[in-house]
Each structure stands twice: as structure tokens, then as C-alpha cells.
């Protein structure tokens, strides 16, 4: 019975991860579109310069995400420790 609960929770967490991945993807699409794609459309194909920009944009975004993740985790841990110290 307890095992079934565990499995359910795992499923929920996995679903959440999927949801966040899709959120992140949508954000990358939005930002890199804003930053790389010319607002004046002259042709249907993605221009060579735009493709190069997109490549760098996605790489840089993921690097930013990584950095933010590390810092945010550090800050949260720091915060929790402070809360603990305040409570005791």
C-alpha cells in the first residue's frame, strides 16, 4: 500500500518535471525569437545569421539557467539555515 503511494508521488514529480521542461522550452523559444529573428520577414527560411544566433542563444540560455540554478539553490539553502537559526 505504501509502495503504491510512493509510485504515485514519483509519477507526480515526474509530471511536474515534464511541465517545467516544457515551460523552459517555451521561454527559450520566446527569448531567442525576440533576440535573433528579424522583425521584418523577407523569406520563409531561417536566415543563416539567424540560425547562428539561435545556436548561440540556446547555448547561452542553458548556461544562464545552469548558473541561476546553482545560485538560487545556494541562496535557498542559506535562507533555510537562517530560518532555522532564528527558530532555535
Amino acid at each position: 500500500m505504501a509502495q503504491k503511494g510512493q509510485v504515485d508521488k514519483l509519477k507526480l514529480v515526474q509530471e511536474l518535471e515534464m511541465e517545467m521542461m516544457s515551460d523552459l522550452y517555451n521561454r527559450i523559444v520566446s527569448v531567442c525569437h525576440d533576440k535573433c529573428i528579424n522583425t521584418k520577414y523577407t523569406e520563409g527560411d531561417v536566415a543563416k545569421g539567424e540560425a547562428v544566433c539561435l545556436d548561440r542563444c540556446v547555448a547561452k540560455f542553458l548556461e544562464t539557467h545552469d548558473r541561476v540554478g546553482k545560485k538560487l539553490t545556494a541562496l535557498t539553502v542559506q535562507d533555510e539555515e537562517m530560518m532555522k537559526r532564528m527558530q532555535t
Partner: protein
């Protein structure tokens, strides 16, 4: 893990995505290379601390300022309900009382 913890995790992950988005938009404006420059890295760090501190301040202010508003709203609602009850009671009082059937004159 209960549903509260799950919600908290979701909030955290959403914040994480939102901050990446915001700080990337703010700090990265040259896409000449595929890695972050030192300046961009510094900017992202500042952006992050700024946002986290801003959130904390805003939360503290919200906790301080919101309760009196909430209380006032509650009181107003209570007064409204009381008013409605009173006006209904007055309407019942003013309406003609139905004559009980037993006391009606029997028509012969």
C-alpha cells in the same frame, strides 16, 4: 511528500525558470559567442540577488500591509449581511399578516 510540498516545489521551479528568463533578457545582448562573458556572468549574479531580495521585501511588505485591509473587508461584509437581515425582518413585519384559517367567518 504531500501536496503542499509538491506545490512548493512547483513554485520553486517556476521561479527558477522565470528568473533565468528575466536575467537572460536583461543581461545577454550580444550573441557573438556561445558562452557567457565575464560581464554577463556578473550581471546575472546581480540580477538574481536583486530579484531574490526584491521578492523577500515584497513578501514582508505584503504580510505587513495586507491583514488590516483584509480585516476591513471582512467587517464591511459583516455589516452588509446585518443590514440585509434587518431590512428583510422589517419587510416581514410590514406585510399584512395572513388571517389564520380557523378564525375566518364561516359562510353559511
Amino acid at each position: 511528500m504531500d501536496s503542499g510540498e509538491l506545490i512548493q516545489l512547483k513554485e520553486f521551479l517556476l521561479l527558477f525558470n522565470k528568473l533565468s528568463d528575466r536575467c537572460f533578457r536583461r543581461c545577454v545582448y550580444t550573441l557573438g559567442s556561445a558562452t557567457l562573458t565575464g560581464e554577463e556572468r556578473n550581471c546575472i549574479d546581480t540580477c538574481l540577488s536583486k530579484n531574490v531580495n526584491f521578492n523577500q521585501k515584497t513578501l514582508a511588505l505584503f504580510m505587513e500591509i495586507n491583514p488590516p485591509f483584509q480585516q476591513k473587508k471582512m467587517e464591511e461584509q459583516m455589516a452588509q449581511v446585518e443590514e440585509l437581515r434587518r431590512s428583510q425582518a422589517a419587510a416581514v413585519e410590514a406585510s399584512p399578516q395572513p388571517v389564520p384559517i380557523e378564525s375566518q367567518p364561516v359562510q353559511a
